[in-house]
Symmetry: C2
Subunit: 416 residues, 2 copies
């Protein structure tokens, strides 16, 4: 390991230990100062961001995500203030056991220590992640995309200037050099970095999962289904499909594949009608194609590969299933276990679907578009986990804590 | 991936889905039958075990762990009955949120699905792991040591015969071939296996962590400290050190290094006196060596490498620290974050130690020997986690579940 990075990792750990000793009130106070500093430094941040934007063609789909404006920075500052106002997830007694021998065992929520975040050209993530980690007394190591390096450097400078003025070890937030070598070293920093969260596209997430020796929480990819049951209210179904598909196509909770019960095949034209307004291309299996031919303008034949696709676009797969068993089998086979939905008036069908579908979020009669920390009322979100270990679905402040057992004795001894 | 193993993984998943639909009462009933079958098949299991024992020299330290006796099998059956009697951790409502728009969001505990366990020559683990996984509706894939292959095959046969008689898909428990290739395939079975738990020595655990693409819970290695504070009651301290060191030296919660406050150096001979009975070799730093010379019979000079050792033997490091800060620094540097202890009458010192030490279990005035699912009152234990993700410390039934969000709506739509 390079000496320089080793020092960075060690400084992060030292800073995390000091951060854990501050009071929650003090951490919130500092977050409010960082929010103020973000607004005070709008011109400086925008100037740095302009350098990054100058290196990216405007036609690049990442261009808009890379761009910071005064309005966006003010919104970021508001988000930081909102994080400061949330209840601290630290120091909560999750369990208390008093043993017959008098030992008192308390399970208490504590910070992870050092969290590494690997993300792409979205400089707002730098402020976001800092505020969530600082709130939870975790030091963070940011590895942003090289496209955003000037923006990220300036953002971290702004945060550091506040921390230094407040007498806080500025190593609570560090920016990793934007090189593959630095990423590789962080992925191997067992015992130095406690957790790595990749935020971005499928390739980034798979790369991190496949190469990290440090524990990882996978976020992201959502191949989401909506099943229209035989008992479905078709008006609800049409609105749910349209909302889940077209609200924002580039998000992981967007609908990818609609399954329609064969008994409702006659309702297909009504069910998909609202999608025509957004020119959604439907990839339909033979039965659905025949039912919609001439009745829906943007129709294509589905092939096997359509079932496993996360479109991130105005496109949707459509399949007729014979019954709920068929729907469950299809979802089991193709779902990425993110968000799945049934539209049904039959409560038993909803219960069965909720029990049997293996996904982070299972909906009855509401669109998968609701899978979001804000929509769940969490007040903040660091990502949406698609794995089962530690956290599942929207991850907020409690999900970036761990726990320890604190055991108080009075000289008890364990028998042989 | 080999076709054969792919089929095994797919069958495990199918079996896990069916298992999740059984009632808890039915699962418990089947566990009791398995306990009965273990006892009924004692002769058969012992005969298979004899084949394994014949291939291992009696001098091998693993020999005793490999050996099954009638008494041990009866104890295993009792453990299975005890697991059957525990409360199910499934279907618990961990949180319920009613949103202003009327969405009802419930966070509910559910099985992982398929859990892979990689372990060494301890055939009792096969019964243990099966019962814990079956209880929690997880299918398990067992990868035992090749040393125990005959024992494991017979144990799995016994379980399968009960499952088949009860009409349960026997793929809820599978034995992986005892080859490195099979292990490698399981470590790469992303999306097929949900979680892998290695149980065994440091090398096994590191191998699994470094090579798995499937999420892993690390268990095991414990470099455990006990700090004698300036306010310590020396009688308590002597008993705690002796118990933590000598109760069982081969377990991960055994004491490895004692730190003694410089103000209590005169108490050293009394503090370590009970260790002489077990002939514990003390590796002491210079100050401790000088204080104990001629007063403790098994004394050696410590070198730098002694501080990072997990002994698994009648050996202990001993160091004088100037104060609690010094002790905390030493522990931060050398601890494996398993179990740490302070002996102090000063409550503030205990609080500070409990807050600042980063370990799964932090003790005041009780030996680290208590880090154990049974001692915590959990009734069962699948391992002791030394990582921070998902589970920390003793892992029982709730720790081998995950959760999902079940969201009930009535046609709500998310705004743009």
């Amino acid at each position: 390991m390079s000496t320089e990075l080793n020092i960075l990792f060690e400084n992060s750990r030292k800073a995390s230990r000091k951060l854990n000793k501050l009071s929650d009130a003090r951490r919130n106070e500092i977050l409010l100062r960082v929010a103020d500093a973000a607004v005070e430094n709008i011109d400086k941040i925008i100037a740095a961001n302009a350098l990054d934007l100058a290196n990216m063609p405007k036609s690049d789909p990442k261009y808009d995500r890379l761009m910071l404006t005064a309005e966006r920075i003010k919104a970021i500052a508001d988000d930081i203030r909102s994080v400061a106002s949330l209840e601290s997830p630290l120091g909560r007694e999750l369990n208390k056991i008093v043993r017959p021998n008098g030992l008192i065992i308390r399970k208490v929520s504590v910070p992870f220590g050092v969290i590494g975040i690997i993300y792409e050209a979205r400089p707002n993530v730098s402020f976001d992640v800092f505020s969530l980690c600082f709130k939870t007394a975790n030091a963070c190591i940011l590895k942003g995309g090289s496209d955003a390096i000037n923006s990220n450097r300036t953002i971290v400078e702004v945060i550091h200037s506040v921390l230094e003025a407040q007498g806080i070890d500025s190593s609570v937030v560090s920016l990793l050099p934007p090189t593959h070598e630095a990423t590789a070293e962080m992925l191997n920093a067992v015992g130095k970095v406690d957790l790595i969260i990749p935020r971005g596209g499928k390739r980034l997430i798979e790369f991190v999962r496949d190469n990290s020796r440090v524990p990882v929480i996978e976020t992201g990819a959502g191949i989401c289904h909506t099943y229209i049951h035989s008992s479905a209210d078709i008006a609800k179904g049409a609105a749910i499909i349209n909302n889940a598909k077209t609200r924002r196509v580039s998000v992981c909770n967007a609908l990818d594949c609609t399954l329609v019960d064969a008994s409702r095949i006659a309702d297909l034209p009504v069910l998909v009608a609202p999608l025509a307004e957004s020119k959604v291309i439907i990839y339909a299996d033979n039965r659905a194609y025949n039912a919609l031919e001439g009745k829906y303008p943007y129709l294509e034949h589905a092939t096997e590969e359509n079932w496993g696709l996360e479109y991130m676009d105005y496109k949707m797969s459509l399949k007729i299933v014979d019954n709920i068993d068929d729907a469950l089998e299809h979802i089991e086979r193709y779902s990425s276990k993110h968000s799945e939905c049934i539209v049904a008036e039959d409560a038993q069908a909803c219960d069965r679907f909720s029990l049997e579908v293996d996904a982070a979020c299972v909906y009855s009669n509401a669109p998968t578009a609701f899978t979001d920390g804000g929509q769940f009322g969490f007040g903040a979100e660091i990502g949406i986990s698609t794995q089962k270990l530690h956290a599942r679905g929207p991850m907020a402040l409690p999900e970036i804590t761990t726990y320890k057992y604190i055991i108080a004795g009075n000289g008890q001894i364990r028998a042989k």
